[in-house]
Amino acid sequence: MADGGGGDAAAPAAPAFDPATAGDVSGMVMLDGELPAAEELMMNSDPVCAMNATNTMSSTFIGSNGHLGNVFVYVKEGLEGQSFPAPTGMVTLDQQGCRYTPHVFGVRVGQTLEITNSDPTLHNIHASPTANDEFNMGQPIQGMRFERTFDNPEIMVPFKCDVHGWMNAYVGVVDHPYFAVTAEDGLFDLSTLPPGDYVLEAWHEQLGTQTQNVTVTTGQTAEVSFTFTAP
């Protein structure tokens, strides 16, 4: 099953088809060329961040051995007309070490997104979607949390902290459970898909998007790979 960064919370709820007929998609996202070196984030503008941060390297490009991480992969076309009720569990976006965790993740339309501040400093959480309502909330106290939901699918909704300009995150809002975010090994799985023809899209914050057609058949695992060109 796809793991959109929200763990079990993103599990599909009661698919509207017979799971016994389902198939899977397994794939990999590759990078053609040298992985750009991660930039060091300058956190001097907030002494708390500079003192407490454990990871000061940019998350834009992560990967190893030609594999690319932090790529959001999802079913773009092929599920029209089907409905998948939003799961009741929450997806959490945390601010920790003056970073967003996770950096790239997915959430379902109508699913609760919990936003927390684990840092002993203040943050603002500024989401700037185009198909959903924009919001900008402050969390000046450690341990604060609030919840939001998105009403419409949108790839991707950027999050930023205007206090700490290096903090950004991206959430893919989808109306089905078939999405995943690659880790450093570039691998992803989309399981329990209804048989049919689909268009998959892979999104990277700097390298853009790529699409692939894939056919899912009962009991089979279709293999897909995306290759982005290094900048």
């Binding site: 400093t121 203040l122 402050g138 000046p140 205007d162 300009g165």
Partner: protein, 331 residues
Amino acid sequence: MTWLHPYARFVCAATLLLITAGGMVTSTGSGLAVPDWPNTYGYFMFSFPLSKMVGGIFYEHGHRMIASIVGLLTVGLTVWLWRAEPRRWIRQLGVAALATVILQGLLGGLTVLYFLPTPISVSHAGLAQIFFCLTVCLALCTSAGWHRSGALDTHAPVMRDSTVLALATGLPLLVYTQILIGATMRHTGAGLAIPDFPLAFGRLVPPEWGFAIAVHFLHRVGAAVTALAILATLGHLLAHHRARRDLIRPAWLLLLLVLTQIGLGGWTVLSGRAPLINTAHVATGAMVLGTALVLGLRVNRHRFPDARRVGPLRARAPRTATEPAAPGAPV
């Protein structure tokens, strides 16, 4: 000696500082670093802890603090003018300045609460310059030099020179229009739409067009037109009114400022909008406007109610008149 004029100058300088601080907010992308308004993260503005003024909050909250101080200074100026200034139109100008700074504060709040919509942000930038112009007017019109220049017999050659009247009157309007174009470029993220300088994509004219490229290119064309207009004004003043040092000096200053401003504009592009350079560009733009306004007001001195008509000013002056007539002499 009255302290009103130095105080008005102080308000004017504080306003320039405020515009600079606002420039830093935009240049550092900190406009939404404080998500609430008029409070700051739930605190009453003046009780927000200094220790929490970190990152983008330093710029945004700092801008709000300076704005509040300028607002209070403007209240003081308006009251002072109302009590001590005999000229009614200056008292009214003070009230206009107060109304403007209040409206400006509201626009600043609205642009935060509505996530920096371009029309409100550009209006906020444009009204800031209007307010600055009002403080420039008040500082100038409360000065001893303004009072002395009220004896219009020395002003006759200028007031009969339609060329200098047109140039000096049009300059502030031209500069203000140019600033509005710049503000539009800035608040639509078009500052790097043309990535090279002084050429545009290696050419004199961009090979492709879109809104961002068009507004950016228009700003560059506006800079060239403004510089030419300033050159023309200075040249005309040197040729026909060389003895009017009160006009020549701001005209030279304008030339110096506009050349600096063009350099800063290019540097802003080439530096990828480095915040300090970008902000210096905003502040220098305000100084160009303020200086153009001083020149325009001095050239139009005869139109103000406190001008003293000493001689037969409506008489036609000889075409060759380039020097001011001696005080009291017929013109």
